[in-house]
């Protein structure tokens, strides 16, 4: 508090920087503007950093050796943080990006805690109203727990750590939570609470270490498959922690940017959990998050991932190669005209789209080709099973519309299946499978389709006509 950050150029720069950060974040929410969104936010960040550096209290006094010393220290710290982060961020393959996000994110939480610690050590946190130590210490708590958890998320995604089942975990968590709570209170009222006989400086240290351990053990039992939700949760937490410390040091850019990330991150976490067909509470409190592991050991997991029609449209708009597998559901819904309209929009975006027609698609040989031709689909886009089946492996998306048995991989592999041996379209081999289907029921043959439960499959539930109409309006909005 009471930092001498009051000059007009400084405040004006913070205002512009905050605006750029917020608008940048907003632009990152749409595929069309996402790329310049990060640039806007980057310019905002650079502006805020440079202007802060220029106005740092007490470091620009060139006649004073102590000032020089401090300035050099700050520049060294900036370089020590920037160089490894830049190097690792550039070098790491894109597949390992999520764990890098986890670790960069966690470090932000650590930084928020460090600010709180300095404010507490210096006694500045206790100068104003009670709100200041409450916010400072709470922010440090949230930031440190999220830091510990982010380290675990990093280790798990990197494959360096499994999901140990600690016996008596709930008791340990409970005891540690109480200890951390007491330490939180002790740090808020260091003068009044005996604080276990510790001086304030050690008290803060013990508090931060205990919070870090709490973050670690809370995250330990959560399975690797749920880590994106975990990272997103900690991202929101750290945003909030940054906002809190922003209040403590009275920095408007930190308050706004931090709080906005706290709120946006919370909603993003919920949306993410939903898209993965997991509930937020389930991820955090079940302790058995590893759906994939359960599936591998105890037979197929009976979980279908679902996706909204707009999201499905956006996914396809940014793919290169799509194979459409039309089936009976398309015929029933009379959606072939809408489908062709949708495909033409994709073609305008330079997406390669082909149709794969199974001999018995639509339940009458040749039925489907006729329907497509009627809608105006040129013949050279329509492929037979033999012509296209080897191409699914190289395609980005296979869009299955109201087809079921003709794409059931059980026909290839499961000898006990009634349709074993029937030639099928290898839609399951595409990088991503989108299935438009009315409900979760079995197909014409009455057997369940493993394709719908695949890890790379998303179900878009609904009548083909309605879903495709939504996809078209989704594309128009992109």
């Amino acid at each position: 508090m009471g930092h001498s950050l009051t000059s007009f150029p400084l405040q004006a720069s913070y205002f512009i920087a905050t605006l750029l950060l917020v608008l940048g974040l907003k632009r990152m929410g749409s595929p069309r503007t996402a790329r310049n969104g990060i640039v806007w936010a980057g310019v905002g960040m650079l502006l805020a950093t440079l202007v802060t550096l220029a106005y740092l209290p007490g470091v620009w006094n060139f006649t004073e050796p102590a000032s020089w010393h401090r300035l050099v220290l700050i520049l060294v710290a900036l370089a020590a943080g920037a160089i490894p982060a830049w190097w690792s961020g550039r070098r790491v393959p894109l597949t390992e990006m999520p764990q890098m996000v986890a670790i960069y994110n966690g470090l932000g939480g650590g930084a928020a805690a460090a600010i709180a610690a300095v404010e507490i050590y210096s006694g500045r946190a206790y100068l104003g109203s009670l709100a200041f130590p409450v916010i400072a210490v709470t922010g440090a708590l949230i930031g440190t727990v999220a830091f510990g958890g982010s380290i675990v998320a990093f280790l798990k995604l990197q494959g360096w750590m499994g999901s140990p089942r600690i016996s008596g975990r709930h008791v340990t968590n409970g005891i540690l939570s109480i200890v951390v709570l007491l330490l939180t209170i002790a740090n808020i009222f260091p003068a009044r609470v005996p604080a276990f006989g510790l001086p304030v400086s050690s008290l803060v240290g013990v508090f931060l270490v205990a919070s870090l351990i709490l973050g670690i053990i809370v995250t330990l039992p959560i399975g690797g498959a749920d880590m994106p939700v975990v990272i997103s949760t900690y991202n929101a937490c750290i945003g909030l922690a940054v906002g809190f410390e922003g209040f403590v040091v009275q920095n408007p850019a930190m308050i706004i940017a931090g709080t906005i990330v706290g709120a946006a991150g919370t909603l993003l976490t919920i949306l993410m959990a939903r898209a993965m067909n997991r509930s937020f509470m389930n991820v955090w409190f079940s302790g058995f998050g590893d759906v994939a592991a359960v599936a591998a050991s105890g037979g197929p997991a009976r979980v279908m991932n679902s996706m909204d029609a707009r999201d499905a449209a956006a996914t396809m708009a940014y793919s290169e190669d799509i194979i459409v597998v039309p089936g009976y559901g398309l015929a029933v819904a009379q959606a072939q005209h809408k489908l062709w309209e949708f495909v033409q929009m994709l073609q305008k975006r330079d997406v390669k789209v082909r149709f794969a027609v199974h001999p018995v698609a639509g339940r009458m040989p040749g039925h489907m080709s006729v329907l497509l031709a009627e809608a105006g689909v040129p013949y050279d886009l329509i492929y037979d099973l033999e012509e296209i089946n080897s191409d699914f492996v190289n395609s980005d998306v296979s869009l299955v519309i109201g087809a079921n048995d003709v794409v059931n991989p059980a026909a290839r592999s499961d000898k006990s299946s009634p349709i074993y041996g029937m030639p099928i379209l290898n839609a399951d081999q595409a990088k991503q499978v989108l299935v438009i289907k009315r409900g979760t029921g079995a197909g014409f043959s009455g057997i369940q389709n493993e394709l719908f439960f695949g890890a790379n499959t998303h179900m878009v539930f609904g009548d083909a006509q309605d879903v495709i109409a939504k996809m078209i309006s989704g594309l128009k909005e992109l």
Binding site: A34, M45, L56, A85, W86, V118, Y121, P252, G258
Partner: protein, 95 residues
């Protein structure tokens, strides 16, 4: 000074704005947006720099130093990773 109810109002309105920003984001942008918002809270760097500048004594200076290093990693790493994730949207838009 942003204290008391003024602070509370700022907090409230900012939170609503944050909620609105991601209310209609397509699934393909979830991970880049998480990364992007991770970068945005890298603004903690400005607070960390001020804390280090005002630190007194070895303990405060050490903690402040570590704080600046961590905050810089957050900001720089957040930017680089987000930019790389969003590269996939670049090629498309040029056409």
């Amino acid at each position: 000074m942003m204290t008391g109810f003024v602070a509370l109002y700022i907090f409230l309105i900012t939170a609503i704005a944050g909620y609105e920003i991601v209310a209609r984001v397509p699934v393909i942008l979830h991970t880049p947006l998480m990364s992007g918002s991770n970068f945005v809270h890298g603004i903690v760097l400005v607070g960390a720099m001020v804390a280090l500048a005002e630190a007194h004594g070895n303990l405060q200076i050490s903690v402040g130093f570590v704080g600046v290093v961590m905050a810089t990693s957050n900001a720089v790493g957040g930017y680089v990773s987000t930019e790389r994730m969003l590269e996939m949207f670049h090629g498309k838009e040029k056409k």
